[in-house]
Amino acid sequence: MPFCLNPFTANSRAVTLWRAAAVVLGLMLVLISEPAQAHGYIVRSIPEDRATLERAPVRLQYWFSEDLEPEFSSITVRDQAGGVVAEGGVSPDDRSLMEARLPTNLTDGAYINELRVAFASDGHVIVESRVFFVGEPSSDVAGLAASDQAVALEVVWRAVVYASLVLLLGTTALYNLVLLPAWGSKTYPAGHLPPRVMSRLNWIMTIALVAAFGGNLLALLQQTMVFFGADASRVLSDGLWQVVRIGTRFGDTWNIRMLLLALAAALHGAGLYLRGSQPETVRAFWAANAWVMALCMGTLSLSSHAAGSLLLPWVALVSDWLHTLAVGFWVGGLTALALVLPAALRPYSGDQRRQALLAALNRFSPIAGAGLVVVVATGIYSASNWFDTPADFGSRYSGALALKLLLVGLLALVGAAHFMALRPQRYVRFEAVIRRVRRFVPTLQLEVVLGLLVLAAAAYLSATPVPQRQFDAPAPPSATQVVGEYTISNTATPGGLGVNTYDTVITRNGEPVDGLPVALRLVNPAHDWRGVWHSAENLGDGLYVAAGADINRAGHWLTLVTIGQGDEAVRAVFEWDISVDAGVIDSIAPGWLNVAALAGVLLAVGYAAFPLGRRFYHKLDLSPSSLTVAFASIAVTVAIVIAAGMIIQQSNGQYEAAISPPPQVVNSVLPDTASLERGQAALVAHCGDWRQGADWDELIRRLPRLRDEELLTYTQEGWRSLATCDPSLTEIQRWDVVNYVRSMELF
């Protein structure tokens, strides 16, 4: 039965297609006209939102799931009357931490923290406020949830950039993988396709490149407007866009994308320029441009949800890149094919037209199929990154994902119908379906429209905030002691493994005391381990601040705070129980769902790469000798890698045990002022006053390398010219002596 194709070149068809495209564009704008929100979110805050505190905290700290732009992020703390009581910004040591120091004289009441947060990866700026109460809580004061300052301009440039890049990749891939092998001929040296087809392809590339450049320029303009809160004219007249282009991560990604687009434009332009004098280079430029566009698609992933994933960020990034590549091959290729067909099939009719069409479709079908499989697999993996609890399935992100899946499903159904129509003998039982789509062209148009809708849904999904994970963390350890005339408060924030800030507030008779020499040290008694002495910086209002990554394991820790020097020094000791989950979460371990989804991605990529692999396999030398050498090489390599891994692991364990073995005896006496005084007295009275001994200075010099249990042994057995302490000393007295001797290390 002959095919009866409608003339695809007919104006009515083209008009229908463009009308459909216009409808899609309209839908796209309607769908994503809701304010886009940032990918990042707060993973830990001190204090928590709406926390009621007995006294004002020393500082506010907000850790985010992503790095922030320091120049465009700020925090303002206001009292109930609206007066500014403190201001802060991004920590110079941690770009995912925003903090503000509070004055120590805050009165009871409600305080509102206004956060203006600019995320580095996507440039989104959110404004939200949080509340804490000192004294009594108040129901009259409430914070504002995050709102986004994204404007319609952002929606437009994102849609334009995404669609144009997908079309660019799809067009170059279609030329190299479909049109050239399906329709190519040496009759046409410039690109091996008829001039009318090459002309159409060149126009598609040119228009898509112009759209991509235009969308990117719009992106820089809009991003600068958001960062500076300025209008377009000021951004242009004051050159503010240069600040964003050079000084932000958004600018870094923007520069890379523009560089790659410039390279693509140069290659495309060179192909056009040389098509007359060196026609053989045209195909080469198209081949090279396919790789350029594949790399360029990666810049979309750099500002995607994946870039902010706490779960295996690199895997998420690669998966997202594969997703966009598959969309480019599938939807971009399909769109390019629909745009090329009218020009390509113009001279033909009847059976010739059908054969020309089917030659292209038959080449495109496996690419679209592989693209669909990769899109679904990487989409599932991406979703597994964000759905943590059943409640997440009720989120707006879940709804946006469901919309996209619905459209992808419809697109897959149309694609499957085309697939079956290309193989009618195999799918006889679906004859009714095949009869409906066997004209191909009308349903190809439908497929293109659905593909554009999928792109719109993808843009909507990428602008939808992911479900925010809730991380329960204990409050940072904090305690207050009175030592002599001083009241000393110490807080370690966040109070977990890794970098912590040590805040010490010192008052005397209720008044803050400034100008004191304050030193601080972290000690892990169970491992007889001591950190370095940190000299705390006096920031005024009696606040002394130090920071360090001393806490490297969970367990019982001491913070030694020494105020003053020499005989006037006083010592406070704070005890903490540090748990593993007390730190700020900066990564999440994958669960079984993530692993299963990742396995799906690998299978999908394997399926897509199978034809290439098969071709490679047929080129291999499969003689017994070659196989023996190959398998032996692989086996030896694997064995060496495993053995090396085990040796490295064993060596690390031995090294750790050698430099920090668990002590036989643990110092059970806190080295506070009282212990130091007792130790000094015992040293003088029962140890012959080591300080007068010839080797005292040498002992002090060696203190950084000596462990407490060694010093305890010296009290029992003596050391060089230093006498053995009185055997009647109790163990506690000996530890007092050890603590006193240890205190000499600083002074």
């Binding site: 990042g40 992503e66 790095d67 110079p92 770009r95 580095a120 990866s121 050239l180 092998p181 399906a182 329709w183 190519g184 001929s185 040496k186 009759t187 091996h192 396709l193 008829p194 087809v197 991560r249 870094d252 990604t253 053989e280 280079t281 195909r283 080469a284 430029f285 198209w286 081949a287 090279a288 396919a290 790789w291 350029v292 594949a294 790399l295 990666g298 750099l302 870039a307 902010g308 960020p313 690199w314 990034l317 390509a344 001279p347 054969q355 020309a356 089917l358 030659a359 292209a360 479709l361 038959n362 080449r363 290309l422 193989r423 009618p424 003998q425 195999r426 900066d586 990564s587």
Partner: protein, 67 residues
Amino acid sequence: MYPHILAHGALGIFDEIIFLGVGVVFLVMIGISWIKSRNVPPEFDETNAPVETASPETSAPDRFKLD
């Protein structure tokens, strides 16, 4: 401070090494594909009939020389 391109920089300097490595690999592939396509002419079946089929299960041709 070293400017990280990625959001996390979880691997520290290796983030940037991987990132630059991917870029270098693709730039090499761009060069190789250009040279190969420039120097190795494509092999086309210049006959239009009889029509070859892609596989036994499909009746559709996978090659048609456009005029």
